[in-house]
Symmetry: C2
Subunit: 456 residues, 2 copies
C-alpha cells in the first residue's frame, strides 16, 4: 500500500524494538543504559510538543538501567525485558511517581506502591519504569494535552493517549494502556504502533483503578515482539485478574507466524461512520489478502458472521449501560469531594448513569453474553476477524480523542485484539485490527505476526 | 435443644432487629435517633471489654439518625434501612472514618470516600454508618483485640471479628463482614448471630480492598430479616461486583419460609476435626429435622453428594494456592514499605506464596471449577446443604480466630450460605449453616427462615 501523502510510510517508519536490542546487550555492543539514554534524548527533543508524560523518573530509570546493564554484562539477565524502558498509563500506581488518573481529585496522589503488573515487571523482570503517561479523566473522558507524534494538530487518541503517543514518538519501546471501549486499539492506529488488548482478565489490574467488566490492561509497543513479551511476562509473573488464568502461551518469544486459513471481516456498527478513504484502504488491503490466497468472508458469505454482526449492532449503547452502572461509583463518591472536581462531561454522564437500574444492568450483561455466544460458535470456522481499528486517521484537534466505535465489539466480547500498523492515508498512520477468541491470545498474535510480515 | 451450661440460650437470647423496629418508627412510638442511642448505650457499656470497633462516629451518626427520624415522621422514609445503625468491617472505606485494614501500614489512612456498598446505603437508603469494626490484618491473619461477647476469654472468630462481636453484643443490628475462607460464617456461629455470605460477586466490593476470587462481601445481623434487607438493598442500589448480576429477589422483605424438601448434610473435610460435643449437637439437630419429616441425605445415601464430598476434600489446600497467588500482590508491595510492617505470620506465608507459579494457580482454579460442577449438578435433587459452621464453640484465647475448615467449601463454591444461631454448648452459641446454589440466595434465605422459625 502506498502512503498517499506526507510523513508517515508504514514501509519505512519503524518504532523502537527492545527485543531487537537484546543481541546487542548480550554481545556488549549495546547496553540497557545506552538504550535508556536514547529514549531520554527522544523525550528531551519531542516531549514539549507531544506531552505524553505526566511524570518521569529519569534518575530512578538510570539506576535501574545500570543494574540491568550489569546483569547483562555478567551473563545473568533476568530475561527478555531486563532493562526495558516502560511507560505506565497514569491510572496504574507506581511506587516512585504519583498517580493522577487525569483528575484534579488525584493530582499528586502517591500510593507509594507499584500496581500488581508494574511490581512484577520491575522487581522480577528488570523493567525500567520510566514514566507515567497521560490518560483522559479516569480513563474515560476529558482529554489531556497530548498531541499526535505524526501531526501535533491531531489527537493521539485516548484514553491511553500518552502511552500511544510515547511509543509512536519512539520515546519508549512499550507502554501499558487500558481499554474500556476503544482506548488501546484506536490510539495505536492513530500513532502507528502495535496495540494489544488481551483477553478480558488476561493481565492483573490490581492497583489499576479500572475494575470495570469491560476494562482491560494492555499494551502499546513499537514491535509485536515487545507487545507479546511484556504481556506474556506480566501474566506469568503477576497473573491475570483474580480468578482468571492469564495469557496462555509457549513463552515470551513471539509465536511463529500463522498463515490465516479463514478470516472474516467484521465491519460492525462502525462501518457506516468510517471515512470513505479509510474504507477504501481497508478494502484494498482485503483485496490484497484475497489475492494472496487468504479466504476473507463477510456476513454475506457466512450466516454465523451475519448473526454476529447483527448481535453486536447495539454494542455501543449496551456497553454504555454496563459502563455507566459500573462507573457511577466511584464517580458519585468523588462528586462529594467538592464542586467542579469532575469535568462537566463526566458530571453530566454521571447524572444519566444514576438513573440506570440493576434490572437494566442485568439485561445489558445478558445481551453481552448473547453477543459472546454468537462469537464463540464461530471458533471452529473462522480464525480471526479483521477490521478498521478506527473510522479513519487521527482526527484534527485535541478536544476529542476520536470515535471508539470500531473497538467496542472486541471490548464487549472480551476477545484478544491487535492493531497492526499496516496502512497510511495522507501521510498519517492507519492500522488494521485482528481479533481472535477469549484465551486464544497466542493464536491471535500469530495471525498478527503473519500480517505484519506479509505486507502488500 | 437444650443449652447445656452457662449464659447463652438460643431460645431466649435475642439480638437487635431493625426490621422489627420499623412499625415503631411509623407509628411514632420509636425513632431512629432513639434506636441509635440504645446502640450507643450498649457500646458505652460493653466496648471496653469487647473492643469491636476501631473507630466510631457518634456525632455523625446522630445527625444521620435525626435526618432519618425526620423522614419517618414526615412519612417519607427511604425504606426499610432508613436510620439503621451499621458497622463496617475496616477493610471497607468510609468517607468519615479511617480505613486501617488491621495493619500498621494503613493505620489512620483516610480515603475520604465511601466504598461502593457503603455509599449506596448511606446516600440512598438512609443507613447510619456508626463505626468501623476490627478486622484481622488485611482480613487474613494476625487477630485484633476483639473478644467474644459471650465470654471475653474467647475469640469472636475472624477475620470479621469486630462485626461479629458488635452484632453479638447488641451494639448494632447489622455489620458488613467479608469472607475469603470462613470469615463471616464461623464468627457468626461464635457470636450467636445470623451470618450471610452471598453468592460470589453478589455485593459490590468496590472500595473494599478484598478483590480476591474467593472474597465475598456479606453480613452479620441480629435477625435474618436485617441480613436479607441490607444485602438486597445493597445489591439493588450498588449492584454486585462489575459483571455480576447481584442478588436476585422479589424485594427487601424476608422471603417466605420454605419447608425443605430434600437437604443433604455436607460434613466435608472439617468433620474429622470437629469437637465431639459439636458433632453430637449437630446430629441431634439432624435427628429433629428428620423427625419433623425433612429428608436429610448424606454421602452414603446419594452418590452425587458423595462425589461432591470427595471433590471438596482438598478445598483448603487448593484455596490456599488460589489465595496465596492472588494475595502475593499487594502484600509483596507492602513489604517494600519497611521492615516489620507485615506481621511475621503474613510475612512467612508471603515467602511461601511467592513460590507459586501461574501454572499451579491455573490448575487450582480448574480444580475449583470441577468442585463447582459437582455442586451444580445437585441443584435439581438437593434443596440445600447443612453443616456445622465451625468445629465447635468459640475457642479460648485471642491468639487464633478458630479454624475456618467448615467454611471453605462454600467459599470455594461461591454459593450463598447462612449461619442460623440454633444451638448451644456449655452456654456458648453454636450455629447451623445452610448453603444453597450460586444466584439462589433468595431460596437459600427462605430455607434459613424455615430453620429459624422451626426450632426444636
Amino acid at each position: 500500500m502506498d502512503a498517499s501523502g506526507g510523513g508517515y510510510d508504514p514501509r519505512s517508519t519503524r518504532l523502537l524494538s527492545f527485543q531487537a536490542a537484546l543481541t546487542g546487550f548480550a554481545d556488549g555492543s549495546d547496553s540497557p543504559r545506552a538504550y535508556l539514554e536514547r529514549c531520554l534524548e527522544t523525550i528531551a527533543a519531542r516531549e514539549s510538543e507531544i506531552r505524553a508524560f505526566v511524570a518521569t523518573n529519569p534518575e530512578g530509570a538510570r539506576k535501574a538501567a545500570d543494574a540491568a546493564a550489569a546483569r547483562w554484562k555478567a551473563g545473568r539477565s533476568l530475561g527478555p525485558l531486563d532493562g526495558m524502558p516502560l511507560g505506565v498509563k497514569d491510572l496504574y500506581e507506581t511506587e516512585d511517581m504519583p498517580t493522577g488518573m487525569g483528575s484534579p481529585i488525584y493530582e499528586g496522589w502517591e500510593s507509594h506502591r507499584d500496581a500488581a503488573s508494574v511490581y512484577a515487571l520491575r522487581r522480577q523482570a528488570g523493567v525500567v519504569v520510566l514514566g507515567k503517561t497521560t490518560t483522559t479523566e479516569f480513563g474515560f473522558s476529558h482529554p489531556g494535552p497530548t498531541t499526535n507524534p505524526f501531526d501535533p494538530a491531531r489527537t493521539p487518541g485516548g484514553s491511553s493517549s500518552g502511552s500511544a503517543a510515547a511509543v509512536g514518538a519512539r520515546m519508549v519501546p512499550a507502554a501499558f494502556g487500558s481499554q474500556l471501549m476503544g482506548s488501546i486499539i484506536r490510539p495505536a492506529s492513530y500513532c502507528a504502533n502495535y496495540g494489544y488488548k488481551p483477553t478480558y482478565g488476561g493481565l492483573n489490574r490490581g492497583g489499576g483503578h479500572s475494575s470495570l467488566s469491560q476494562s482491560h490492561l494492555g499494551l502499546h509497543a513499537g514491535s509485536l515482539a515487545d507487545a507479546w513479551a511484556v504481556a506474556f511476562e506480566t501474566s506469568r509473573l503477576a497473573g491475570g485478574d483474580p480468578g482468571y488464568p492469564g495469557i496462555y502461551g509457549a513463552g515470551a518469544g513471539l509465536p511463529p507466524a500463522r498463515p490465516p486459513r479463514v478470516l472474516a471481516r467484521l465491519d460492525g456498527p462502525g462501518w457506516d461512520v468510517a471515512d470513505d478513504a479509510a474504507k477504501a484502504a481497508f478494502e484494498a488491503y482485503v483485496g490484497c489478502l484475497r489475492a494472496a490466497g487468504v479466504t476473507v468472508l463477510s456476513g454475506a458469505d457466512h450466516p454465523g458472521v451475519a448473526a454476529l454482526e447483527e448481535a453486536i449492532r447495539p454494542c455501543s449503547t449496551n456497553s454504555m449501560t454496563i459502563i455507566g452502572w459500573e462507573l457511577k461509583w466511584p464517580l458519585a463518591a468523588y462528586r462529594e469531594k467538592g464542586e467542579g472536581l469532575l469535568s462537566p462531561a463526566i458530571a453530566d454522564r454521571l447524572a444519566e448513569w444514576e438513573t440506570i437500574t440493576v434490572e437494566q444492568y442485568r439485561r445489558a450483561v445478558e445481551i453481552r453474553n448473547e453477543m459472546r455466544r454468537r462469537h464463540a460458535v464461530l471458533r471452529p470456522a473462522i480464525d480471526g476477524f479483521l477490521g478498521l481499528p478506527a473510522p479513519g486517521v487521527a482526527p484534527r484537534g485535541l478536544a476529542s480523542t476520536g470515535n471508539p466505535i470500531m473497538n467496542v465489539p472486541s471490548s464487549t466480547l472480551g476477545a484478544p485484539v491487535f492493531t497492526v500498523p499496516l496502512l497510511a492515508l495522507d501521510g498519517l498512520p492507519l492500522g488494521v485490527q485482528v481479533m481472535g477468541y477469549p484465551d486464544g491470545d497466542e493464536a491471535t498474535c500469530a495471525l498478527a505476526r503473519w500480517m505484519d510480515e506479509n505486507r502488500f
